[in-house]
């Protein structure tokens, strides 16, 4: 008896007991749906986080932040130097492998006014290098230039979010005069919205992006001279050429700053690596725990199949006896029962994949404002489907063996 006939017989058997088969399949459907959705969920988390990482400057970004001075150096605190432009020049002169430097000053934001509209906006005083270090581009106009810095010009590059708030739609922003902390600034450029036009991040407009898209920039010297009045910087950011040398470059920067800061460790050099690693860890842990939960539900589905197959062969002992009497070998009976179990799990698997696609779409709608919108890919769907087939074979084997081992005489006598 061929496999094809077995499969046809299996489908007939399922069709003959529609409700029972459906209830049995339900276990597999839910199990496969859980497994495939889990993949999509983790995948979505991964993709979302990757995007955030990229927009925070990616792996190539190094940062020097303020740090608590160590206990042993406390007495010398008063001679400690803050992070200044001199540090940038030293790093650029002494550390090879740095592609760009970005000294930045956080102005802590402030009120911005255009005609009768007012809003709060975060403003940073930066140099031309920030564009490269933060992986950003200008959508309209230009970015801060060295000339702006040299003259301490009151020019500003606005975030796309601020432009939307202050100006009428589709009107050019460049050239307008706005007031930031009651000082007039000429708009010279608009930042490209993060997430890019038309991409998921932008269309679904999640909160992180909305927040980032409000960031506006003025020349570094303008900020120092006209706003803070100090020469201290908030961050010194760098972009390295080659991420494989990230650790060595971080060490080199550390050493240079150690000297320029008079050997006082009131700074720290941090990389994004740790963030990436922690994130990979979290994703992995999520994957494993969700995978276990999904596997348990598939296991339950498999047990359901085994149960129903045992009941089914018990009902058909006489049929098996007849088949054996007219020449079915043990193997024929085994294949018949096994194929039925696999057809059950296979149909369940197919439906489960369908359910999971629907489910992930639904979750995607709920999570549209976050980074974790699930991503459906073909690979995990095929994998989940294959697992369902394996479940059918595994849990169908015992009932199939029992059926195959039936004694034909006993089976024929069975009422």
């Amino acid at each position: 008896m061929g496999i094809l006939q077995g499969i046809i017989a299996g489908f007939k058997e399922i069709w003959a007991h529609k409700l029972r088969s459906f209830l049995t399949m339900l276990g597999v459907i839910l199990g496969v749906a859980a497994l495939a959705s889990m993949f999509a969920f983790v995948e979505g988390m991964f993709a979302g986080w990757k995007q955030v990482m990229q927009e925070l400057g990616g792996m190539e970004k190094l940062s020097t932040n303020e740090s608590q001075i160590p206990e042993t150096q406390r007495p010398f605190r008063h001679i400690a130097r803050q992070r200044r432009r001199a540090d940038v020049l030293s790093v650029r002169a002494n550390v090879p492998g740095v592609a760009a430097c970005a000294p930045e000053l956080d102005l802590q934001g402030g009120l911005v006014r255009y005609r009768n509209k007012r809003t709060w906006m975060p403003v940073y005083a930066v140099t031309a290098g920030s564009l490269l270090v933060n992986n950003q581009t200008v959508a309209e106009g230009r970015f801060i230039s060295d000339l702006d810095r040299a003259t301490g010009a009151r020019v500003i590059v606005l975030g796309s979010g601020i432009v939307e708030e202050l100006f009428e739609k589709n009107a050019p922003a460049v050239g307008r005069l706005i007031y930031f902390r009651d000082q007039p600034f000429r708009v010279v450029g608009v930042m490209q919205p993060l997430g890019g036009p038309g991409t998921r991040g932008m269309r679904r407009g999640h909160d992180f992006m909305r927040w980032r898209n409000r960031f506006s920039y003025i020349p570094l010297e303008t900020g120092m001279l006209r706003m803070t009045g100090t020469k201290d910087l908030t961050w010194l950011n760098y972009k390295v050429k080659d991420t494989s040398r990230l650790d060595r470059i971080a060490e080199a920067i550390q050493n240079v700053l150690f000297l320029t800061h008079r050997r006082l460790l009131n700074f720290s050099v941090t990389t994004n690596t740790e963030m990436f690693e922690r994130f990979a860890e979290i994703t992995g842990a999520f994957g494993v725990s969700l995978g276990i939960i999904a596997s348990i539900s598939l296991l339950v589905g498999g047990i359901g199949i085994m149960n129903i197959m045992l009941a089914s062969i018990n009902e058909r002992i006489r049929e098996i006896g007849i088949r054996k009497a007219i020449g079915a070998r043990d193997r024929d009976v085994l294949v018949q029962v096994l194929v039925e179990a696999v057809v059950l799990s296979l149909t369940g698997g197919l439906l489960g994949v369908g359910v999971s696609v629907g489910l992930t779409e639904a979750i995607g709608v709920i999570l549209r404002n976050t980074f974790s919108a699930p991503v459906v890919r073909a690979g995990p769907l095929v994998f989940s489907f294959c697992v369902s087939v394996l479940v059918g074979i595994f849990f169908g084997m015992y009932p199939a063996l029992r059926a195959a081992k039936l004694d034909p005489i006993e089976a024929l006598r069975y009422e």
């Binding site: 009497a325 007219i326 020449g327």
Partner: protein, 231 residues
């Protein structure tokens, strides 16, 4: 002088003992029997006499405890389960008291089933099954389910199934037991016709009228042959 027909099946000193826990039940004891080609044999005896066991052993459904079973010149007493399944499939046809048709299959499919296990192509299966369905007079019922047929028609379908692989031996276990007298007579007539066509038929029964139709009568009691006569 006529030449003796060839021997289809032969039992030599066959014993069958069932072990049920500590109890040993002797179903057959030192049975010697030879069935020739084209014979019409009735095996009779009260229940528990071992006639079913004898049929199971001759029909390759069961193995012997001791002794030799030879079918068409081949010793099958030590055959494996798979070999016995193959012999049942190609050399033996069974007709049961309760018809034993598969309820969800049409007559056509039921008759085709042994051919399916023999690995015969779909097209040839249909043709051969069709021919036998016509032979037993069920041509207009070929695509009915067993439950849509009368008892006599079901038994005809079962006979067609038993014949479809052109077996050397046809076993009928109380084939008229579930039928009324008139239908039973028709079925018996069908067996007689098959016998006239040269087929070897063994009927297991305790009905003396049926036994009288057969050309040879073997009576069993307590696992032994007590009578073996031509009628």
């Amino acid at each position: 002088m006529t030449t003796l027909p060839a021997c289809v099946a032969r039992l030599e000193h066959v014993s069958k003992i069932y072990t049920m826990g500590p109890v040993h039940v002797t179903a057959l004891e030192d049975v010697n029997l030879s069935i020739r080609c084209g014979e019409f044999v009735a095996i009779t005896g009260p229940s528990g006499s071992g006639k079913s066991t004898l049929m199971h052993i001759l029909g390759c459904l069961d193995s012997v405890t001791s002794g030799t079973v030879v079918l068409e010149g081949r010793d099958i007493s030590r055959a494996s389960a798979n070999e016995r399944a193959r012999i049942r499939n190609t050399r033996i046809g069974f007709v049961f008291q309760a018809f034993n048709l598969l309820p969800r299959f049409t007559v056509q499919h039921n008759v085709e089933l042994p051919l399916t296990y023999a690995g015969i192509s779909t097209r040839e299966r249909a043709v051969r099954a069709r021919r036998l369905i016509e032979l037993v007079g069920l041509a207009d019922r070929a695509h009915h389910l067993p439950q849509q047929l009368s008892g006599g028609q079901r038994q005809r379908a079962a006979i067609a199934r038993a014949l479809v692989n052109d077996p050397a031996l046809i076993f009928a276990d109380e084939p008229t037991g579930n039928l009324d007298t008139k239908t039973g007579a028709q079925i018996l007539q069908l067996f007689a016709t098959l016998h006239q066509q040269g087929r070897t038929i063994i009927i297991v029964t305790h009905d003396h009228d049926i036994a009288a139709c057969a050309g040879r009568r073997i009576a069993l009691r307590d696992g032994r042959i007590v009578q073996d006569t031509a009628t």
